[in-house]
Symmetry: C2
Subunit: 468 residues, 2 copies
């Protein structure tokens, strides 16, 4: 590497020279090691190293000197840069030799570039001319030569050639840091952040304030309402101590919750929630199409369909549809998971939507704080939202009268003493209010048509998994 011709982006020649010398020393050392070891799968069988001094391992970057060198993101390597000398830093996805020449594929988040003999997943600095063979390569961070999984294998589309290696869900989660490097995973978590951004953006525009709650959102967001915040939302970790080992439950998930007061009827809130989901679905469709495509390349799925305004059915109507399809169930019976999915298919066939709202659930199947229907207390002012036939939100008008609330808690066998702080919050005047909450991972999973919630949680936790 010569200091001349480095271009105007390099300010510290001294620093570069020093770095170069250290790197060359390290390169020789690394080469020695390589010849000595059979472990390195990529070791090349050649007699004389014609690239000596042009590659090697950089010393650990401990912030020795600040170098003002432009490092190009892979997506900027377009024909406009032709014949310009550039540096890139990327992960080595794979390499192959062809005669005396060796090529490698570099990866940076969602982008890959066709670009020596380095462990896969190592991070390398490459200097070269755009569209010509690269000149110099330095390892910034070396990966172990034996990887528990290959990003290439983990990136293979589902249901392709059985002869090719695939990576099981368990191996992925055991080695989540490598698994998360696939382009599909990079896209999934960008889209998940998008769900949250669109949620906030819509509610911010409606005059909501954000409540910061370390405690579980349900009761405390209602207390915020009694404290006159009027419209609140909260995003935070929620913990669930139930032993459910399903494709859609986690013991830790991100709760995205809202609560707002209304004037006369909880449908004022239901309208806002309806608009909120339409805004999220439109935002994802319009602003995250690249991410959706990237995910679909690995996990093919039907595009998500929704109506505007959303389809709303009463619980009774849902039950009637199920009965028509031959299901026997009582009026005030809860929806079982198979019936929930069947209803989703019936709704899709009849209304062509993957999203709908079921209103006025039986009171008996809802929590104690749910407001009964004023005309018939067999029913309640409560609703569930569904995506691709699975429940993604439960909500309701809550009881805002302390005496009535305590009465309902007793009916449910709850010791009123244990929830005193909560009931007290309604003693000093609370406005009528309603709300609901979603699990961020579940909404992302169902929007993308993925089949396991572990795919949309960075570091999933379930009754059987505590690490990494």
């Amino acid at each position: 590497m010569e200091a001349k011709g480095e271009g105007e982006n390099v300010t510290s020649k001294k620093a570069l020279k020093k770095q170069q010398k250290e790197a060359e020393k390290a390169a020789k050392k690394a080469q020695y090691k390589k010849q000595d070891s059979k472990e390195n799968e990529q070791s090349v069988a050649d007699e004389k190293d014609i690239s000596e001094g042009c590659y090697g391992t950089l010393p650990l970057i401990q912030s020795q000197e600040r170098i003002e060198r432009k490092i190009y993101p892979l997506q900027e390597l377009t024909p406009t840069l032709a014949d310009q000398k550039v540096w890139v830093r990327a992960r080595l996805q794979t390499s192959r030799s062809k005669g005396k020449q060796c090529f490698f594929v570099l990866r940076q988040q969602k982008w890959t570039v066709q670009a020596l003999v380095v462990n896969k997943e190592s991070i390398i600095d490459v200097e070269g001319y755009v569209r010509t063979v690269s000149k110099k390569v330095w390892i910034v961070s070396s990966a172990s030569p034996r990887l528990p999984l290959l990003v290439e294998d983990a990136s293979r589309p589902e249901g392709t050639d059985d002869a090719l290696a695939t990576v099981s869900q368990e191996t992925r989660l055991d080695n989540r840091v490598i698994d998360l490097r696939t382009t599909a995973n990079q896209a999934i978590f960008r889209l998940e952040a998008g769900v949250c951004k669109l949620f906030r953006q819509f509610l911010d525009g409606k005059g909501f304030g954000k409540a910061f709650l370390a405690q579980s959102p349900q009761l405390y967001k209602q207390m915020c309402i009694s404290a006159d915040f009027e419209k609140v939302y909260t995003v935070g970790g929620v913990f669930r101590a139930e032993d459910s080992n399903t494709h859609r439950h986690l013991t830790e998930f991100v709760g995205v919750d809202m609560e707002m007061c209304f004037n006369y009827h909880y449908h004022e809130v239901l309208d806002v929630l309806d608009q909120l989901f339409v805004a999220i679905f439109k935002g994802l469709r319009d602003r995250y199409c690249e991410e959706i495509e990237t995910v679909n390349r690995q996990y093919p799925a039907e595009p998500f369909k929704f109506l505007e305004p959303s389809l709303r059915l009463e619980y009774k109507e849902g039950i009637a549809m199920l009965r028509e399809a031959g299901i026997e169930m009582a009026d005030d019976e809860d929806l079982s998971t198979p019936n929930e999915k069947l209803l989703g298919r019936l709704v899709k066939a009849k209304y062509d939507t993957d999203f709908y709202i079921l209103d006025k659930f039986p009171l008996a199947v809802r929590p104690f704080y749910t407001m009964p229907d004023p005309s018939d207390n067999k029913w309640s002012n409560s609703y569930d939202f569904f995506m691709r036939g699975e429940e993604i939100m439960s909500g309701a008008q809550r009881i805002h009268d302390a005496v009535f609330l305590a009465e309902r808690a007793k009916v449910h066998g709850i010791d009123v003493k244990t929830i005193e702080g909560y009931i007290d919050a309604f003693k000093y005047g609370a406005p009528p209010h309603a709300g609901g909450g979603i699990g961020l991972e579940r909404v992302t999973m169902l929007y993308l048509g993925l089949h396991n919630i572990r795919k949309t949680s960075l570091f999933p936790r379930d009754p059987k998994r505590l690490t990494p």
Copy 2:
């Protein structure tokens, strides 16, 4: 209440009539109760009720019928609405009688309006003509006649007339839902949401992605870096099991954390953090001035001063300033709380700023994953940020090499087995990275010059408080 003249905003006359009848029935019942009970402090000594039929308690709003009536927010009651009939729903802050007439003050979040005989803190619906005496009043949600604290007392500026009632911090927190209704508290939590919004806005603009972590942020946000997310931030509940009973510690707080990879020197990250804080301070000053004024009316404080770019000192320089002021301390000794505050005063006197950065802390006082200084491992690539002389952020370049990390963990007496998942994350190539995190409540407290972190936590938790 007559249905005629209700204006074009009312669509359901039937609903109104029904509601009116129920309300009148309830009103009579309520009046009967009132005459019967001595508990009601506001009961008026008059013989004949000239307002009969114009006030009372509404039945519990159970979403009986949906009424499309415009309810005016208090801040919209301006002279342009003169002589127009309007409905408002608000909390009764206080009421007083003057001869045969009775006035009351209504409150809605940050606004109050001058407007019978209802329990304070009840929520009422009022119909009237703007700037004339209101006509009809219905209680939407009745508060207990005996309140544990009065919002009026809780709103009194600090350090005023000793003869007037004040409310202790303990009483406030025991009855947090009422305490949070003060205009100062409404403003504090709006500003707190602002800190978070500005944090996200700045980092979103710099290409950061949001990581959703139920787990503690420090280790997992680094794992996100090793998983190629490059720049991540996370906002979530953090739990702290230390027995510290101070004005600035909580056992549950909101952690706002960022982490990013860099090319050659951790000062690339320090520059981003510097700009981030300047963006937050400017955003608060420019967009939240109304909230700051509202808080200052109750809690007077000097305006927060900062420089652009921020003042940066090396730890050594800070120690030198303290020694000059007569403090004896060793080179690699940590800053005690009194010395930290003294240094803040010295910095303010010399540089006229309430915000500064102290860089290059002694390695011995930092966590095991801190990168040592490459030229002298007595020091480290780590920094603290201070506001009004109190630490609000600790950050550093982290060790990104698995072998070196395990070595440093051992030096700190940490069993490497217990952090295997964390160390493994660096085995497969991780880029150099640095970051930091703030406690949202502490930053808000110090920005506003408040003296207790419980003032900036909605439902504070400390070793002595678990409810409400």
